[in-house]
């Protein structure tokens, strides 16, 4: 069967092409109606997982410097390695719900200060040891220790005490936090035997695959863990990650069939790649977003009118179309979108308006000296072009924006979070509370907009301790409104996760928590 017919078939099964259109185009390719019908029926039946085979993923975002220590993971490839070999207590499902993994259930005291995780029984690590609540406790303790340099240290710092209580591990917080279970799904917090205290980088976890070859920055090979506890996941015998940091090489590899899945497809090639036979481009709305950030405590951005002028002077739709080629969604000057649980969509969308921008600019009384915006290509892909678009739209409102190009080297240590007006990006967080407390709470280390608002802080703490979801949603809406109006954040767009996936890969799910199905492609897909 030729590639084009296969491609058509796959799209029909996914409902992107109608049955009638399929029959018509199949006939055009010289396939009889009876034959086309049989093909379609076979394809529709082929939705049962098939066991075995080797999945090869070509991934950007890995370095020779990567370690297997879960605490130290920071880029994409280590993330995928951990998601493939490890298992955490809980996970965030595609719809934002909490999914139980190594914890069977979770309960809390009514004040949301103490949380009890019931640890699953009969789970085996790759080294044959059985999971105990003690392993969980030790893992959490290791990540709480500053010496471990864990990426999850921020999460762990809120914990006052932890203990094992029979089959339970209980965690007591200093202040109430209704979102604690979500935080335990952080990808650094993979449970290791003995907490990984002795050998943190041995790669032994409780996930569906065990690592057999580890060449950082080159490739990682995994084999199925025979005694994996969850039979609904992990269909492959073998999984291979090839680190391909060069975007063109990655696209060539997936086009020539050397890898089944390639991550980080650039928006500008996504449309072209989608036309290639034998593969499909999958995009899903994510929580990551591109931002321009102003320091609310530094002149001239300490003037609310000037901030509003700049917010009105940006053409979000144009930026989405030209920078992301439409592979994204429009931002609304808050770091939260519909992908988050408890999102309130009643906040009106801020539109590009020359009149309002000019009006606020006049009200700000700015002396007309150029407003310097610092950008670099590393801020986000296309940041320099985005800044140029911003400059042009601001000019229409008479706002003199001046672009300063900064070197990518040292951008994160010298410009971001230091200079008063710069471009940057944020990856998503599992819950609203974490996003706000990472970057918008007055006391946050990463308060990159220097946003100090007592009312906002009070509401944040109030929502955190509130177990009633309706009330929390209302509080979050209030906070969003404050940030939308007062904040130093200009958020033009949320970027999609875009991946190129071979037609041979079945069982793909849209999951925008993190890229490549939140790292679950090796677990949930199979080869046809």
């Amino acid at each position: 069967m030729n590639d084009e017919l296969n491609h058509l078939l796959a799209r029909t099964v996914q409902g992107r092409v109608s049955r009638r259109a399929f029959m018509g185009r199949a006939a055009a390719m010289g396939v009889t109606a009876a034959m086309a019908n049989t093909l379609l029926a076979t394809s529709l039946r082929a939705q049962e997982p098939v066991k075995g085979g080797t999945l090869i993923m070509g991934l950007g975002g890995g370095e020779s410097t990567n370690s297997l220590d879960p605490a130290l993971a920071a880029s994409q490839v280590p993330f995928h390695v951990l998601r493939t070999t490890g298992e955490s207590l809980v996970d965030t499902a595609a719809d934002g719900a909490l999914e139980m993994r190594l914890a069977e259930s979770v309960e809390s005291t009514p004040d949301a200060k103490t949380w009890m995780f019931k640890i699953r029984k009969g789970v085996e690590f790759h080294n044959g040891a059985t999971l105990t609540p003690d392993d969980v406790l030790k893992t959490l303790q290791r990540h709480s220790d500053e010496k471990a340099q864990s990426g999850a240290l921020g999460i762990m710092q809120g914990i006052e005490s932890m203990k094992v209580d029979g089959d339970y591990v209980s965690v007591t917080l200093g202040t109430p936090n209704a979102d604690l279970p979500y935080l335990m799904g952080d990808y650094h917090l993979m449970i290791q035997p003995g907490g990984g205290i002795e050998t943190p980088a041995d790669g032994i976890g409780a996930g569906a695959y065990k690592i057999v070859t580890d060449e950082p920055g080159v490739r990682h090979v995994f084999e199925k863990h025979a005694n994996y506890w969850d039979s609904s996941r992990g269909h492959y015998d073998r999984v291979e990650f090839i680190v391909i940091n060069d975007a063109t090489a990655r696209m060539a590899a997936v086009q020539s069939g050397q890898v089944h899945i390639a991550n980080r497809v650039e928006p500008k090639v996504a449309g072209l790649l989608a036309r290639a036979p034998g593969l499909e481009v999958k995009n899903v709305a994510g929580r990551g977003h591109y931002v321009f950030i102003m320091h609310c405590n530094t002149a001239p951005f300490d003037n609310k009118d000037l901030r509003l002028a700049l917010k009105y002077a940006i053409d979000r739709q144009e930026m989405l179309d030209k920078i992301l080629m439409g592979y994204g969604t429009i931002g609304n000057d808050i770091p939260i979108n519909a992908a988050y649980p408890l999102f309130d969509d009643s906040l009106p969308q801020r539109e590009f308006s020359v009149e309002k921008a000019a009006e606020h600019y006049k009200a700000s009384g700015h002396d007309g000296s150029p407003i310097i915006l610092r950008v670099s290509d590393v801020a986000f892909p296309g940041a320099i072009d985005a800044a140029a678009l911003f400059q042009q739209s601001a000019q229409k409102a008479g706002i003199p924006l001046q672009i300063e190009r900064e070197p990518g080297d040292g951008y994160w240590s010298e410009v971001w979070n230091k200079q008063p007006f710069s471009a940057s990006y944020w990856g998503g967080r599992p819950v609203q509370d974490q996003m706000y407390s990472t970057a918008y709470q007055s006391s946050a280390d990463w308060n990159d907009t220097r946003f100090f608002n007592d009312e906002f802080d009070t509401l944040l703490l109030q929502a955190r301790g509130e177990l009633d979801e309706a009330k929390r949603k209302a509080t979050y809406a209030q906070m969003a409104a404050i940030l939308h109006e007062e904040g130093g954040l200009i958020c033009p767009m949320f970027n999609d996760f875009i991946e190129a996936v071979s037609n041979k890969v079945q069982g793909w799910e849209a999951n925008g928590v993190q890229e490549v199905m939140n790292g679950l492609a090796p677990h949930k897909t199979w080869l046809a």
Partner: protein, 318 residues
């Protein structure tokens, strides 16, 4: 003492001095890079306490010259240290990468050097006629196109449009020699095209220079075939400049192929070095720099020695 032996010892001693000077330069260069290792390892979210701990652990608080001599002492004992970022032994992890780089460079050289010399001879034989022009045009074109573009063109034509060679040059120890050679076919092709022009033109120019000599005329008058005149009489006397340019290109094949490695995802030294530069992993950068300097210096010594040995005037100085 035999003058040739003396010369060899002299050259090698000079090379070592040069290598020492290079090590100082590498160390100074890596120390004045902007940014701080601890900051780069821990990322934007590092707390001051964590930064301080890591700095103390890595010995970053010592003065630079103390760190330099500690490092030099280790290197002299064959200990390149451990990578700051992932704690792996540098000698072990770099060894595999270096081997891969040499493997690729070796096969590129095996193809390109004889080919370049042969094409140079042909170009001289048919000087200013169409074979010369075709060879010159094509090699000039391939040497002028940036190698990443050549790489992408090769991938587009040979692995996407007509899938005959893999676009990923992934090799590992479990592969047979044949499988490895197939995997590296495209990078070898690109490297050959990149270095061919330079070597071929140098060969052509050097031989043409010799062709003006009286003894060539004699050889022609003896009635020798033109190709024999070139290969037997002209080439040996043009060896010195040819060897020099060949060695320069061989050194380039080892230290300058980072772009080709990235395009073809080849696990060689270049990518390894770039990753560690980005993370300010100073010991690894220093070790790579030292290896690259050693390759360059030894290739140049080799070129010098060969030119001297092939030149009787230099072999028997008055």
């Amino acid at each position: 003492m035999n003058p040739i032996l003396k010369l060899l010892v002299q050259r090698i001693a000079l090379g070592l001095v040069l290598l020492f000077a290079a090590s100082v330069l590498i160390f100074v260069g890596t120390t004045i890079l902007p940014g701080d290792v601890a900051q780069n390892i821990l990322g934007q979210g590092a707390t001051p306490q964590a930064l301080e701990n890591l700095r103390a652990q890595l010995g970053l608080n010592d003065p630079a010259y103390v760190r330099y001599f500690n490092w030099l002492g280790g290197v002299l004992q064959g200990d390149l240290g451990t990578a700051l970022t992932n704690g792996q032994d540098i000698a072990t992890s770099m060894g595999g990468r270096l081997w891969n780089t040499l493997f690729l460079a070796f096969w590129a050289a095996v193809v390109s050097v004889p080919l370049a010399i042969l094409l140079g001879l042909i170009a001289v034989r048919y000087r200013d006629r169409w074979p010369d022009k075709v060879i010159s045009t094509i090699t000039l074109a391939t040497v002028s196109v940036p190698e990443f573009l050549l790489g992408y063109i090769a991938i587009f034509l040979l692995s996407v449009t007509f899938p005959i060679a893999p676009s990923l040059a992934m090799i590992n120890d479990s592969m047979s020699l044949g499988a490895k050679l197939q995997a590296i076919s495209l990078p070898v092709l690109v490297l050959v095209l990149t270095v061919l022009g330079h070597m071929m033109r140098m060969t052509r120019a050097a031989i043409l220079n010799v062709m003006q000599s009286a003894y060539i005329e004699t050889a022609e008058l003896k009635g020798l075939r033109p190709f024999t005149v070139i290969a037997r009489h002209a080439l040996p006397n043009a060896i010195a400049p040819v060897v020099n340019v060949v060695m320069l290109n061989m050194a380039y094949l080892v230290v300058g192929v980072v772009v080709v490695e990235v395009v073809f995802v080849y696990p060689g030294m270049g990518q390894y070095l770039v990753d560690h530069v980005a993370k300010r992993d100073v010991p690894v950068v220093q070790a790579c720099g030292l290896v690259f300097a050693a390759v360059y210096i030894s290739m140049n010594i080799l070129a010098d020695v060969i030119s001297i040995l092939t030149n009787p005037r230099l072999r028997h100085p008055k």
